[in-house]
Symmetry: D2
Subunit: 341 residues, 4 copies
Amino acid sequence: MRIGVLTAGGDCPGLNAVIRSVVHRALVEHGDEVIGFEDGFKGLLEGRFRKLDLDAVSGILARGGTILGSARLERARLREACETAKDFSREYGIDALIPIGGEGTLTAARMLSEAGLPVVGVPKTIDNDISSTDRTFGFDTAVGVATEAIDRLKTTAESHQRVMVVEVMGRHAGWIALESGMAGGAHGICLPERAFDPADLVSMVEERFARGKKFAVICVAEGAHPAEGTMDYAKGAIDQFGHERFAGIGTKLAGELERRLGKEARPVILGHVQRGGTPTAYDRVLATRFGWHAVEAAHRGEFGMMTALRGTQITMVPLADAITELKRVPEDRMDEAESVF
Amino acid sequence: MRIGVLTAGGDCPGLNAVIRSVVHRALVEHGDEVIGFEDGFKGLLEGRFRKLDLDAVSGILARGGTILGSARLERARLREACETAKDFSREYGIDALIPIGGEGTLTAARMLSEAGLPVVGVPKTIDNDISSTDRTFGFDTAVGVATEAIDRLKTTAESHQRVMVVEVMGRHAGWIALESGMAGGAHGICLPERAFDPADLVSMVEERFARGKKFAVICVAEGAHPAEGTMDYAKGAIDQFGHERFAGIGTKLAGELERRLGKEARPVILGHVQRGGTPTAYDRVLATRFGWHAVEAAHRGEFGMMTALRGTQITMVPLADAITELKRVPEDRMDEAESVF
Amino acid sequence: MRIGVLTAGGDCPGLNAVIRSVVHRALVEHGDEVIGFEDGFKGLLEGRFRKLDLDAVSGILARGGTILGSARLERARLREACETAKDFSREYGIDALIPIGGEGTLTAARMLSEAGLPVVGVPKTIDNDISSTDRTFGFDTAVGVATEAIDRLKTTAESHQRVMVVEVMGRHAGWIALESGMAGGAHGICLPERAFDPADLVSMVEERFARGKKFAVICVAEGAHPAEGTMDYAKGAIDQFGHERFAGIGTKLAGELERRLGKEARPVILGHVQRGGTPTAYDRVLATRFGWHAVEAAHRGEFGMMTALRGTQITMVPLADAITELKRVPEDRMDEAESVF
Amino acid sequence: MRIGVLTAGGDCPGLNAVIRSVVHRALVEHGDEVIGFEDGFKGLLEGRFRKLDLDAVSGILARGGTILGSARLERARLREACETAKDFSREYGIDALIPIGGEGTLTAARMLSEAGLPVVGVPKTIDNDISSTDRTFGFDTAVGVATEAIDRLKTTAESHQRVMVVEVMGRHAGWIALESGMAGGAHGICLPERAFDPADLVSMVEERFARGKKFAVICVAEGAHPAEGTMDYAKGAIDQFGHERFAGIGTKLAGELERRLGKEARPVILGHVQRGGTPTAYDRVLATRFGWHAVEAAHRGEFGMMTALRGTQITMVPLADAITELKRVPEDRMDEAESVF
């Protein structure tokens, strides 16, 4: 069997572990040939690929990034791309295509599958917001990085008697904020799933100071937002370059809290450090299992499917189901976090 | 409500996170009183306890060990202990007892429950071998420590053209070896669940050397054992102090491989570093959730139960079911690890 | 002997290690009494202190922050404070005062010393910019945190084909940027000591892209600045709250590079994570040695002095010399970093 | 200029950083050509080498091991090797040879230099025992790994009320034990430089238990030894395979303490994890500076010399001086560690 593999979308610790696992399983167990397309679907469309043997994937298990490169494909080009990819796959004799990527990639994967290509998807997002799998690789690493940051900020917040607002990734779903906030013991957690009221955070901080705990750390997802009418700075804050990204909710909220509390409040925007570098053991195991099962699914002819974690098992779910809705943090998980919204 | 909490058995990263979570949830949400018994069931039997308020659990979330101390209780004393504990609980007005511990502790918990005490158990084992929960806290940390060790040993094995045998914890179940071996990319993994043949490991190493990869790392659970008749050193090796613990399977296997391969082979016995220190974010979250749900179960009057992770949810399972059989690594997980047995 | 110890100024990993070391050495070797003033000089002026015995410093070696709390003292109050401190020290019978702090604290220490108090200073700054000591504790930890961030950002920059600008601490001296940039393999390093020209960074990035390395990471000290006339955004950029701190050089430079290169450039502002949390082994050793030698100096009656590292030895230097000039990165160290300025 | 570089001796974090630095400096600044000999002096003698350009050293800064491979050369073959190397170097036009290695390698380097080869040495040892340099790269990483292990073991020792004996590397010099013991807060430190008396360790543990600290961690260098007549197990303990290495001082001492104290004592032998894997930021900076200065020395024609750290500066010292005597832990450093011997 000739298997093509590609990585698409943003960086995510564990991509290399999937690639390595696909190559190991396909070559050692099945005697397959594996080729890797460069820069995601672009490589597929432009015919840029290379053969992946055991040496090509040697030493990459623990390395961040992707040896194949990655690029986002504009949605507009998707339909056209399908035809090209189909032709290409026939020409080169691709018996199975394994795209590793997030929501956009899986949507493309589904279209390719519906167009008749033999596709087995592997889901990837540090945001953990794909609904048909319990967890995705990359998420544990991101939570680990954010938690270590909160650990460090706590001692600083305490010695400076300050409020620290840590902004972590999560535009549409607050999983990273939820779990790193919980793991780091943040005193407040703000998620996109539930609008927060700064007044609640103010009360929490004041209560803490009153009982002698003269600091607080608040963990905010980048997609968190105040309830309507509760915060002046919420809308329209544009930085000096006209870039909205440089003045996110973390910065706004720190400013708001400083103003209301009359105490120093500082934002820390973790940013891209959350999505790069060595994956945790958890992510390496999950990524390796996903790669292994994607190859097995291909050999069983189970196309149009995607690997997923359910409990302790890896199962295959239809690509069609995978991307229908975003997995958001449910109410009961928010309650567990005992957070202030 | 007056809740008593205790930790029993071996050290396990996340114990303090459970204690903190119990206290937070009980005090802040329910206005309960929480007391902590010292040194496990001993403290319960001897009436040694202290009140746990928010200050008592401040700053312990990320700390290894247990602020309550821990001790093993001999099984022989268990039945007698039940009566004492029952009397004691009545006298002190304990409305719910939350023991956090492994198989032995949960067995005791079950006996206490059957004797009429209001018990909610929280499972704990770095070995991950309790069957009614998908995972236990402490396990992720142990796997992380072992994986980092394998990462480091790989570069050394490579530069010395050596075989390294890493012995990790897991007397009856090989979960740590399985996952750290997989995450670290060990070239062979030996588990208690399946007897290994040293000849297979020898072949694997020789194939590696033949294709220019002049090193190998083998990850061995302390409870792994060779198939009958396959290895001379397997039985009866007693060290110079008469302690069997100082000559485990890792050391034996390294000696055997060195003899058979005619190449340097070195054992590294990770030992107790796997069970101490700061828990990973994953373990802190799981431990925190277990504590939270144990308190809720107590308030719902669900006694004789234990917290468990099933998929992404925390559920309650009967203590009676929890400890009937050990959760061992199943065949399909061993296959995924592509290992040599 | 009765020794008073206090910590002043910003958080710095290793403060607790100094306190612990002072207590251990003073109590165990000399049978001294040690008291700790709370919140820096404030505690000294307001008579807030507590006795420090072995239990009080148990378990703090690896913990960030300071168990004594810290506060900055306004310079204006210093002279007045001297008199109060002197009276207080006489009243309470302080035979030696060990203030641990940065430039401001050491200046205060010198004034107290000149006013007749028996002072032995211990220098502290994560910025490593105190001239009379080879290194200060806290610096190694800060460099470690920044290096890990650069490691992670590299894989992300590479997979996104992006320029990343990491802003690290260092307002007046660029040591953290120098060493973390060197350790992380940043492709450009900008320090306060030498004005940079964005055009040089642009050339460097373009050369990298030309030879197929389609990403770059630039490490910028917060106090770095462009040469006059080389960058439009350099002056006067004020964020929407009027806080200059939220629009530092990292953000400005990323904007400038994105505009000039026509490629994505993203700023990552590490901020306070650099100054909190567990100190590295190096910092714990240095801090412990400083504490040990401070006690010895006190017992030898060497007052008005400060501990310092010179080569491998801890020596005592006059407080008067310690703070005359800032230790800035010299030319030859910048050359070693092969950086673009 | 054509520069040859090679790595010899045991694995040491930072080797790749030196290689990368040599290549960067030589190519970018001087337009040199750099070739790397494989497997240490073996590659030089057998003519096995490869050209090193920027791509060849891309991404290796943070990686453990050595991309060039390493091998030990028997002393007996050294003199013969000199002639071969000389001929070879002339034939291939090597204008400067940069061997990176420990005592054995530097001795060889000196012989090659005396035989007329243009040699600039770079010292390497995780043991930190080369006398003419303040520190060597690799040491900080080893201390970091050992310190993290001690951190973890402390919580386990405490929860089990145990004595833990951690054996770290250091056959002839106790630097790793000294600094990791100090950084980890070990309660006893045993070094090769001073024979210890187990009775002192017993007293220390008993005092700790008496004041309620019911655990202890003792850090032992592998080369530490008891004073004559103080410990029965000290001599002649051979394990069941006849390998002395499997029954080091850590294991012996734990057995001895358990017997004398009547309390559980457990050995943990860290072994090879100390010498592999990602170097710390400190080691990367030192290694990078060494490589940079080696190239500069070659261009200045300063042969027969070795790079060395003195205070904050990199200087060149004669190879002849470098290896005359081992740098052992001096008395005053042992005193600082407040340890029990």
